[in-house]
């Protein structure tokens, strides 16, 4: 009998790709519930449509690539992409929007680059950006949070929401769209932050940073903490991203003047901040590899988010910031290689195998 040559440390782990992905799916639940509670059934419908499309695309492509279909479907990576995209899209978006975004994410952003583990860009964010630059109107109309509906009108129920999203119904049902917290700051002309907070019910009825948005972000924060506790990822990237974003927004808060870009609390608890910090930036494939690299990567994502939110032409910036940093991740990796045991200096990834000096 041949003996296996194993060297220490003998670490046992039950974390294979499928388990990790299932944990990630589980961790999105609090955020998804908060979004549903405040913005209606639209989010869940998005997630369901996106999941069906993603699994269909994944199976088709795997079949075309002559790979075992069920083996790759079972790792749930396509489902995670679909769920993240579904959560990021505006609730009550038309069905074709979700279809186009998800199929673009799976087919072009993931499989044309070689499938799971080879994609240089986060598939969900590629899908989101394609939709954002192609259909700016549909992508920027968010429904109003339910507590802010006018007196006497009800938020659309499950049946009405389905009628709005799916194509077979021609009856048009109106939903109330409203500016998101980041929108109001982008279009603020001449109001002090305090006046804005008092005049806009989006803030005056909220505890910290906009009705609905704060709870959705806290939900994703809770999910992220759960994943941290289960050691699905390390704290480096999300924490440095949040710290960088908070520092930038504190620096440019400008004492709440009329040209302020919003307080750190607003930036941390609105838009896609927490979803991005714990579910997108932590993507093991497209982010930096070493802990030091992850901190740089996360911090730069945070800075870019603030720059694009404040001075860019789109209201939220998560997707753009992440894609730009995905470009930079290999470079960061090249300069943050950890020192291997037994070597004095870390070795460059570009170093030739022959010139070993130390």
């Amino acid at each position: 009998m041949a003996l296996l040559k194993l060297t220490s440390p003998h670490a046992h782990t039950t974390q294979n790709t499928g388990n990790v992905m299932q944990l990630v799916l589980l961790a999105t639940i609090p955020g998804a519930l908060a979004l549903t509670a405040f913005f209606g059934w639209g989010t869940l419908i998005n997630v369901v449509i996106a999941s069906i499309v993603a699994v269909g695309c994944e199976a088709t492509i795997m079949h075309l690539r002559k790979r075992p279909v069920m083996f790759y479907l079972r790792d749930c990576s396509a489902l995670v992409t679909a769920v993240l995209l579904g959560l990021a899209l505006p609730p009550l978006a038309p069905w074709w929007l979700v279809l186009v975004g998800t199929s673009f994410a799976i087919v072009i952003a993931k499989h044309l680059y070689g499938g799971l583990g080879y994609n240089p860009f986060n598939p969900a964010m590629v899908g989101y950006v394609v939709l954002l630059i192609s259909f700016p109107v549909q992508m920027t109309s968010w429904p109003a949070p339910m507590p802010l509906y006018p007196e006497g009108t009800d938020a659309p129920g499950l049946w009405q929401s389905l009628q709005m999203v799916l194509p077979f119904f021609n009856e048009s049902v109106d939903a109330f769209t409203a500016a998101t917290p980041l929108d109001t700051f982008k279009h603020n002309t001449g109001l002090l932050v305090e006046q804005l907070y008092q005049s806009d019910p989006l803030y005056s009825q909220a505890d910290w940073a906009g009705v609905g948005w704060e709870w959705a972000n806290l939900g994703f924060l809770a999910g992220g903490c759960f994943l941290l506790y289960r050691k699905v990822f390390t704290w480096h990237a999300p924490v440095s991203m949040l710290v960088a974003l908070a520092l930038c927004s504190a620096l440019f808060y400008d004492g709440g003047s009329s040209v302020s870009h919003g307080s750190p609390v607003l930036h941390l608890l609105s838009g896609a901040t927490m979803l991005g910090a714990f579910f997108i930036v932590t993507d093991p494939v497209t982010s930096a590899t070493s802990n030091r690299g992850r901190m740089i990567y996360g911090a730069l994502v945070g800075v870019l988010i603030f720059i694009i939110r404040s001075w860019g032409s789109y209201p939220d910036a998560m997707a753009f910031a992440v894609l730009l940093m995905n470009f930079a991740a290999p470079l960061i990796d090249n300069y943050t290689l950890p020192r291997t045991y037994g070597h004095k200096k870390p070795r460059k990834a570009t170093e030739k195998a022959t010139d070993t000096k130390d």
């Binding site: 186009v100 072009i108 394609v130 630059i133 192609s134 259909f135 700016p136």
Partner: protein
């Protein structure tokens, strides 16, 4: 190179050495102006004209010109033809000229043209060079046209929109609408769409080449095992 047949020149230009799909030259106009069929056709025709003209001119002077001043002379010739084309477009299709804008003068820098002058026209007779320029131009133009068609259908849901810019008033109502008014898929109109469509076309060409090659291999007479080996021992069973 002198013994290349006209048939081969045609095949090279249109398919096996296609400027856009195989040599990947002239990608800048290819990606920039193929948002609609009329733009693609206009630029394709202009490029074809310049390419044919410059190939003929370069071939005519190929024995008189020393290696040292070869490239500047080629560039002068190409620039002359480009200016001619530009003036022609200004005279006859002024609106299209305005739409294509900087990409008409930029034909000078199209690597396909200098590439053909350097690689073919300065080594071959006038007739062959003219045909090579024409075929390379048609091959490039066809790719432009296909990309333009796909991007126009996907991006704005129309086909042959604004064709009157090129064909005059008789083409006013050639526009075909596919998805009704108000349709728009911006990604196909923006530069990323051009990259995606061009990439898909290159992939498609490789698939077709692969199929043809496999088909040929299957048709070739199968090699019989042992037929070419000289046996020195044993018996042939």
């Amino acid at each position: 190179m002198a013994d290349i047949t006209y048939r081969e020149i045609t095949k090279n230009g249109l398919w096996s050495n296609n400027a856009a799909l195989v040599q990947l030259l002239g990608l800048c106009p290819l990606l920039a102006v193929t948002g609609s069929v009329v733009n693609a056709l206009g630029l394709g025709l202009a490029t074809m004209l310049v390419l044919t003209g410059s190939n003929i001119a370069v071939s005519l002077i190929r024995k008189r010109i020393s290696d040292a001043v070869k490239i500047p002379a080629f560039v002068m010739i190409i620039a002359t033809f480009t200016t001619c084309t530009e003036l022609l477009m200004k005279a006859f299709t002024y609106e299209l000229y305005l739409i294509l804008g900087i990409f008409i003068p930029l034909i000078v820098t199209n690597c396909t043209i200098l590439g053909r002058a350097e690689a073919f026209a300065c080594k071959n007779k006038v007739g062959a060079s003219a045909l090579d320029g024409l075929m390379m131009g048609i091959g490039f133009g066809l790719v432009l046209l296909v990309i333009g068609t796909i991007r126009e259908i996907l991006g704005s849901g129309t086909l042959f929109d604004n064709m009157h810019l090129l064909f005059g008033p008789m083409a006013e109502n050639w526009t075909i609408h596919f998805f009704g008014e108000g349709y728009g898929f911006l990604v196909a109109v923006l530069p990323p769409g051009a990259f995606l469509v061009a990439g898909m076309l290159i992939a498609l060409k490789n698939i077709i080449d692969d199929r043809i090659e496999r088909h040929r291999a299957a048709k070739r007479a199968p090699v019989i095992k042992g037929a070419k080996r000289v046996r020195t021992t044993g018996t042939v069973s």
